[in-house]
């Protein structure tokens, strides 16, 4: 008992020394650690604005907390298809472009995409693809696409992102359908193919799909390009392949919610992040495709040559908001995963 009491007292003593409150603060709500600490520290040092960084693990998680209210966020980082729904529902605040001079550094192909046709609400942060990683030491046959990957001989040697919509979209493009064509009919067509695939997968992991590949627990994966780039950077035995059947890109954005309390600070942060030397810091930690052309000039030749970071991209094909059809995907995948586990 006395020990416990002492520990508790210690805990309470910690409370007596509160942190000094900064005059101005910015509530940033972003993907888990997607904004490097160095960027946040640099911004605070320069502007004197304290950044409170809260994180989420999925765009839906962010949306759910934002919609319920209770806490005000000044800057959020929605994925493209969530931003689309948010813009339609007037949940984002139009950007004041006059306050964002550094917007000029962005490559035009990443602007005015279907989710925000006039680029009035969002600024692209990083662009990624979903592709196949191959451990070429253990897999000698060429892997060009999903059909090569999902074969019986690779059973129990595959990791895929734990993302139902992603998996469904791969099956749709393999069948020659559009990845955004989510109807009962198209899902019924994809069902047998997905059922076959799920039986072959050993690990589903969205957060760090590179881990089982690095650990040697699996030899193949369908993962985010940034994860693949980290693998390739550390070890040349890994290769990145954009699936021959078709692939899609995702655009992670920065946007200001309509309910923001400090939009001025949010604009300052946005412009700060768009500075080439700051954007470079982000690329150093998250080797996705950087839309900032001036920042790309600062990257090393090795960074630019990473096939997962800078694959030959054609026209960007992104996910669109599918609304309630998400429930059908969820049921289908729960059903198939349960069946595959037997």
């Amino acid at each position: 008992m006395p020990t416990v009491v002492r520990l508790l007292t210690l805990a309470l003593v910690a409370a007596i020394s509160p942190a000094p409150r900064a005059a101005e603060s910015l509530n940033l709500f972003a993907w888990s650690e997607y904004v490097p600490q160095a960027v946040i520290d640099g911004f605070s040092q320069e502007t004197g604005i304290k950044v409170n960084y809260a994180t989420y693990a999925s765009g839906e998680e962010m949306l759910s907390k934002l919609l319920t209210g209770g806490a005000a966020y000044d800057l959020i980082q929605p994925p493209d298809y969530i931003a689309e729904a948010m813009i339609r529902n007037k949940l984002l605040r139009p950007l004041d472009r006059a306050r964002l001079p550094n917007l000029r550094h962005l490559a035009p192909e990443f602007l005015a995409l279907p989710h925000d046709p006039a680029s009035a609400y969002t600024v692209p942060y990083m662009i990624g693809t979903v592709g196949i990683v191959v451990n070429t030491e253990r897999v000698k046959e060429p892997i060009r696409g999903y059909r090569d990957l999902f074969q019986k001989k690779y059973s129990n040697r595959i990791v895929v992102v734990n993302d139902n919509r992603e998996i469904v979209s791969w099956a749709l493009v393999t069948l020659g359908l559009s990845q955004n064509d989510i109807t009962r009919a198209s899902l019924a067509k994809a069902r047998p193919l997905i059922a076959e695939w799920l039986k072959l997968v050993k690990v589903f992991d969205s957060d760090s799909p590179k881990t089982p590949l690095l650990n040697g627990d699996v030899d193949l994966g369908v993962v985010w390009s940034g994860e693949a780039a980290k693998l390739i950077k550390g070890n040349k035995k890994f290769a990145y392949v954009l699936p021959a059947e078709g692939y899609h890109s995702f655009v992670d954005l920065l946007a200001i919610p309509a309910t923001a309390k400090n939009p001025a600070a949010a604009h300052r942060f946005l412009d700060y992040v768009l500075r080439p030397e700051v954007s470079k810091l982000i690329s150093d930690e998250f080797p996705y495709t950087n839309p900032n052309l001036a920042a790309r000039k600062l990257l090393s030749p090795e960074q630019l040559a990473n096939p997962a970071s800078y694959p030959p991209l054609g026209k960007l094909d992104t996910f669109r908001d599918i609304g309630k059809a998400a429930a059908d995907i969820d049921k289908l995948m729960t059903d198939l995963k349960t069946a595959a586990a037997k």
Binding site: E61, T338, A340
Partner: protein, 292 residues
């Protein structure tokens, strides 16, 4: 022993004003932060979602109809099975530890208690990653076994149902040890001695005296391990490779996942909680009935 409570009429009586006054904080807390959120959940479960996933209040039974689908029943059954196995292993592992703790004298007892608890003051995620380091195919355990020539090829340990159970047992073990300890500590050593004098060996007296008398602690431990383990999902994701959806995963996906269907998640949660509240209530009635 509980019979005595019933037998002495003076002890168990209706609370007077002070009684109610003392009970007030508990009652207020329960109503404000347990009953109210539970009611919100019930209302949700009869609602619909809009495009963004906001809850729209209507009255529909659709969510319950969907929850009765065999797909979700299978998921539920599997979750219960995992939790039951976990609880059983925890109980077996915990009993000797709790009994040892209860029989240890003052300075060492506190130290042992802390030794049991301190590992759990580090983040769950970091502990789980440590297990991954141990179990992975090029991990420490396989390395050791290969080095000692116990095995010829690496064993597949991680991302298996066994790994999930291991993770669950590791996460919940203290929640079995502590309640059993709490109820074993008060056992009168004279009782054990009496059993001894009557010719019981230590194993027998453990089985015949200690086990029955610590049953309330075991019951509390089961409650603290079994029920939360059913709703657990992070361990099956990290150590099981998220291959098998458990009820926690399905509910999680409705609330913060792509499904964006809180009403359906609420319906699943309401069914889940109602079922266990009912079981708990019946169990209470049975224990009370046995006493009376």
């Amino acid at each position: 022993m509980t019979d005595l409570v019933q037998a002495s009429p003076g002890t168990a009586r209706l609370p007077r004003f002070t009684g109610w006054l003392l009970l007030a904080p508990l009652a207020v807390w329960l109503i404000a932060f347990v009953v109210a959120p539970a009611l919100i959940l019930v209302v949700y479960s009869f609602s619909e979602r809009d495009e963004l996933g906001r809850v729209v209040f209507t009255f529909t039974l659709e969510n319950y109809r969907r929850a009765a689908d065999p797909v979700y029943l299978a998921v539920f059954g599997r979750s219960v099975a995992y939790a039951a196995i976990t609880t059983a292993i925890c109980a077996v592992l915990a009993y000797p530890v709790a009994w040892t703790l209860a029989r240890t004298r003052a300075p060492w007892r506190g130290r042992l208690l802390l030794l049991v608890m301190i590992p759990f003051w580090t983040s769950f995620l970091i502990r789980t990653y440590a297990w991954i380091t141990i179990l992975k195919s090029e991990g420490l355990l396989n390395g050791l076994l290969l080095y000692t020539h116990t095995i010829a090829a690496p064993l597949e340990l991680l991302y298996t149902p066994g790994a999930v159970v291991l993770g669950l047992v590791y996460a919940y073990l203290p929640f079995m040890i502590l309640p059993i300890y709490g109820s074993a500590e008060k056992l009168d050593p004279a009782l054990i001695e009496a059993a001894h004098d009557l010719g019981c060996g230590p194993w027998q007296s453990f089985a015949r005296v200690v086990l029955p008398l610590t049953r309330p602690g075991l019951a509390a431990g089961v409650m603290m391990v079994f029920v939360p383990a059913i709703g657990m999902f992070a361990i099956s994701d990290l150590m099981g490779g998220a291959r098998v959806p458990l009820i926690g995963n399905v509910i999680q996906d409705q609330f913060v996942g792509q499904a964006r269907d809180k009403p359906f998640g609420a319906a699943l949660a309401v069914i889940f909680m109602a079922l266990f509240a009912l079981l708990y209530w019946l169990w209470q009635r049975r224990t009370e009935g046995r006493v009376a």
